[in-house]
Amino acid sequence: MSRIVGGFVVPHDPVMYAAPKAASEAEAAAVYGAYAAIARRIGELQATTAIVIGCDHYILFGTDCLPQYVIATGEVDGPIDQLPGLKRGPIENHSDLARHIAEQGFAEGFDWTVGRSMQVDHSIAIPHQLLIAPNAGVKTVPVMLACGVDPYIHKRRAFDLGRQIGRAVESHPGDERVVVIGSGGISHWVGTAEMGRINPDFDRMVLDCVARGDAEALIALDDATILEQGGNGAMEIRTFICAMGAVGGSHARVIDYLPVPGWITGLGFAELAAA
């Protein structure tokens, strides 16, 4: 049977690519160093598949249809949003595992939206380029939660969805070694009057919750508090909650935290211990 061998939370800051020089050399080195350390860990864990929990930024899905959660079960291409230095192209999906997650979810009451041939945005493409592509042969299963456009997925639902993903992996009749990656920034204000603000206190509180495996504390945060303390971008901590649910471990190791004003985001990296 397949199993989850580890997990991570990482940012997916597009400003790294849109304005690379806006951060200092030291900041950039630390950020890329954290990604490189996680890429190495994925190799050490001998992972064969990475499930990446990302989100939409009103790029993939329009006003016609705003799904709560989506899994790509077929062809994947991206990123749809073109950023200098972020390669666009096919992303090798593990379709069999993705379909299994969806089908198991249907049986359990999780009405997945599925993408049979879909594009992804930078929330999947950045972790893919920096973490997965360096590990040749590792496949990607993209999942997108409603974190950027309301109605946002409820945090409890994000956690339960993660649990369902975890159960589905464990029941998958293969021999996959799976890592789950929650892809989201912590404090950042996207397009608002406060854009550029970072709140390290909020960010450290979030990472403390991740470190002690306390998903309940993150679920208990009300959205008004997140918006005030972490900005609209911090709604992406739902991806952390989902990954924590999937991995199911009791703790995590914070790899690094960097508030990078030039990249307008609090950037946190952690490794989730497998259950």
């Binding site: 849109a18 806006a22 009103y58 006003t63 309301d150 608002t192």
Partner: protein, 99 residues
């Protein structure tokens, strides 16, 4: 709800070069495709991103709407903060980098 129509308009502009060119060529004609009041059309035509955000329009859309028109990011921040901008295609030096 006007918020929804405004979001559709900005999403359509953000995802289609053809739409952006049509809007740039004749904003009034393009805006005629959407069921909006004259006041709402004026907010779009005038790039009044602050007022659009106040109506509940997602700020990822307002930000993209501004930048895709070739306008500068520091001017966007000023507009969102209710301060004066440097003009339709501002001349501040930091370009699209965050302020």
């Amino acid at each position: 709800m006007s918020r929804d129509v405004l979001e559709k308009l900005l999403y359509d502009l953000s995802t289609s070069r053809q739409n952006r060119e049509a809007f740039a060529a004749d904003a009034e004609k393009y805006l005629g495709r959407y069921r909006l009041s004259a006041e709402e059309k004026a907010l779009v035509r005038d790039y009044d991103v602050r007022a659009l955000a106040d109506l509940g329009v997602n700020t990822m859309l307002t930000w993209g709407f501004w930048l895709q028109a070739g306008r500068r990011n520091p001017d966007y921040i000023r507009a969102m903060q209710g301060r004066e901008t440097t003009g339709p295609r501002g001349t501040t030096p930091t370009g699209g980098a965050p302020s």
